[in-house]
Amino acid sequence: MQRYDRQIRLEGFGEEKQRQLGASSALVIGAGGLGVPVLQYLTAMGIGKVGIVEQDNVSITNLQRQVIYTMEDEGKPKLQAAVKRLQQLNPEVDFVQHPDFLMPGNALDVIAPYDIVIDCTDNFGTRYLVNDACVILNKPFIYGAIYKYEGQVSVFNYKGSATYRCLFPEAPQAGDMLNCSEIGVLGVLPGIVGTYQANEAVKVLCGIGVPLANQLLTIDTLYNTHHIFEVKPVPGNHSIEALLPDYEQGLCNTRSVQSLSVQQLQQWLDTGKQFRLLDVREMDEWEICHIPQASHIPMRAVMNALPQLQLSPGTPVVILCHHGMRSLMVAQQLAAAGFDAVYNVEGGIHAWAQEIDEEMMTY
C-alpha cells in the first residue's frame, strides 16, 4: 500500500477508498489517444483489474499523443506494448487483454465482467455499440471524445442517468463529414480528455464527489473555455433489449461493397484489368506515397467530383486510403449512389507498403 501513500493521506479518499479502487475493475475500449492516459492513471492509482480492448499496431504517427509507446514498439501490437509498460508501472494490477475489435457478437461478453466501461474509441459505430451494450448490461460508462482542439466528457448510464443516445439519438450517416476524417490533433488534447475520463472513473468506482452524470463537459483548449451542459435521461433510451446486428451498417450500408486485398490489387494492376483506382487520402498523404496508377481525390471531394471522374457504372471502382476506413466510407457512398462494382482495399496503402512495395514510404 506504500505506493498509494499520497492517496491514503488525502482527505476524502484514504485507505477505505483505496481498497475500494483495488477491488474494482474497468474495461478500457481503445488504447489510443484517450485510452493511454486512462490506462496509465488507473494503473498507477491502483485499480484492481483493467481490461483493454485493442486490435491496432503502434504507428510512428501515434507517438505524438499516445505517450506510453516508444520507437521500439513501432509495428507491434499496441495491446502487448501497453501491457508491458503498465506492468512495469504497477504489477499489482490484473491486466486482461482483449485483442479484438468490439463487435455486436462479442460486446456483451467482453463488457459483462467489469464494473465500468471507459469509451476511448475513435468512431461513431463503436460508440453507439458501447452505449447500447452498457445500457443492456446496466453498466455506467465514461465517455470522452475529441475534435480538433475540443473535448467532450460525460458519465453515461450511471444510476439511471442520461445515455449517449439521450444527447445524440442517431449515428451520423455514411461518409458524414464527422466520421473518420483523420483531421489532426494536438498531442496534449487526448491527454487532457483521457485524464478527465480517468478522474470520472475513479469517482464512480469509489463513490466520491459528483460524477458528470446528466452533464456534458466541453473543453476548448485553444481558448480555455469549459462548459457544463445539463442533460436529462430520455425515456426509452434505457430499455434497449438487444444490440443492432451491425453498427457499421447503422452508419452506412456495407452490403454492396466488396473487399480487395493488396495482393488482389497487385494482380489486377499486373494483368491490365480494366478498373479505376481512386486514392481518397489528403494531398499531404498522397505526396508521401502513392500507387502510380491511382487517381487522387480527397474523401470529402469525391461525391461532388463524380461528373469529372467519369466513372462508368460497369467498370469496377477500387477505393484506397491509408488504412481502409475512409475508403470504406467512400465505397459505401458510391455503392449507395448506384455503382455496383465497388471495392475497398483492405488495410489501405499501409498494407500495400508492408506487403507489396517494401520500398514505399510509410507514415
Binding site: 474509441t121 467532450q152 439519438p169 451542459f229 442533460v231
Partner: protein, 77 residues
C-alpha cells in the same frame, strides 16, 4: 440572441459565436434558421442544442436573452 458553436458547427459557421437577431420563439425555429444560414448544418443528423446550458428539445420555447449552444457529436479518440 447569442449562439455558441462547438465542434464541426464552429467550422461550418467559421466562428465560435454568432449573433441571431431574427426573432425565433422555439428551438425548432432556431434550427431552421441555422439550417438556412448554414445549409451544411443540416447534414448533422444528431446535433444537441442547449439553452442557457440546459439540453433543449425542439419544442422548447426561447426568450430573447437566451444563450444557445450548438453541440454536434464528435468521435475522435
Amino acid at each position: 440572441m447569442k449562439v455558441l458553436l462547438f465542434g464541426i458547427a464552429k467550422d461550418i459557421a467559421g466562428a465560435p459565436v454568432i449573433q441571431v437577431d431574427t426573432p425565433v420563439t422555439q428551438v425548432a425555429g432556431l434550427r431552421e434558421y441555422l439550417y438556412g444560414r448554414y445549409p451544411r448544418l443540416r447534414e448533422l443528423r444528431s446535433c444537441m442544442i442547449a439553452v442557457n446550458k440546459v439540453y433543449a428539445a425542439d419544442g422548447d420555447a426561447l426568450q430573447p436573452g437566451d444563450e444557445i449552444a450548438v453541440i454536434p457529436p464528435v468521435s475522435g479518440g
